[in-house]
Point group: C3
Chain length 137, copies 3
Amino acid sequence: MTHQAQLTIKTSGRGTVDITRQLNDVVRESGIEKGVATLFIHHTSASIIICENADPMVRQDLENWMLRSVPDGDPIFRHVAEGPDDMPAHVRSTLTATSLTVPIINHRLGLGTWQGLYLYEHRTAPHHRKVSVTILG
Amino acid sequence: MTHQAQLTIKTSGRGTVDITRQLNDVVRESGIEKGVATLFIHHTSASIIICENADPMVRQDLENWMLRSVPDGDPIFRHVAEGPDDMPAHVRSTLTATSLTVPIINHRLGLGTWQGLYLYEHRTAPHHRKVSVTILG
Amino acid sequence: MTHQAQLTIKTSGRGTVDITRQLNDVVRESGIEKGVATLFIHHTSASIIICENADPMVRQDLENWMLRSVPDGDPIFRHVAEGPDDMPAHVRSTLTATSLTVPIINHRLGLGTWQGLYLYEHRTAPHHRKVSVTILG
């Protein structure tokens, strides 16, 4: 059986948005007990990550690592027409994930205790981001 | 329903090859309207990425970031028998993606407007690369 | 058809554990000839990678690159309650993969000749890690 849904997630600029609950809602709607949920973000400057969900500092530290490793306004970047944070956003997307597949176990996302699902906005300005969920089982 | 196909992609050395059209051809052949296409590259020195498809400079800037962050001939690497670009190719593969899952929506890959699917060759010499596509829906 | 299994993998601290054989055992048990195996690790400080399986030096060099690029005890990290290797483990997990999808071809994982599947432990202490395998086909 195949169930498909699309979500629109509002971001408030660079940083993470917890989408775990919304994704579990889609899993419940599908009625599928055992299978997988595949997530896909339709953008190249935002991504989907699984990250520790207890201490928000973890995601801030991840952001600090990104800021240092893929600096905004880096002079090696020549694709700069859309601003100093645009090309870094494309690199960050490539280093993280555009698609993720999570098992469905007993009608729920089979996440570990400390795992949350986050949309990671890499642009500094707020955006509306489209995420597709395809459930197979 | 499950449909499987294998593609052989010729690369001209380090850089990206657009494989979006070939993958959409496989989706069309499958006859599947709604589901997912899972892509897998059978190599550890080339990868599959989703990247901005409008300005080729984006992929050149990504390559420049890789060149600086995972330098060829880096003295920390000891696996050097196959040349100074071999171990960097393995690291780049790990940082990007060996597998990707893309939703199929209305008989087509559900890519965003600015998303293209690329094979990313990390070796400096040309290669033939094998990619498997498994379509489920 | 959907087949699901859970594995517990014992690690001896930071480094890789070859899980290719165990995963092929699950594929064989499933009886599925053609489809995909989706792997998912239920942790945010260990990951699953596909890497060159011939020369163990490749995985040591990858580890050396990680040690330099995501240093333990890095002063930019403030999430330090669980030790100097904890936050680097979360960053490494984000840079590598929490989920992977591998095609099943003729009742086996369709890996390339030089591809092995590894659990990559990022913490310095030994752990028991849970991996789910969902097979669809």
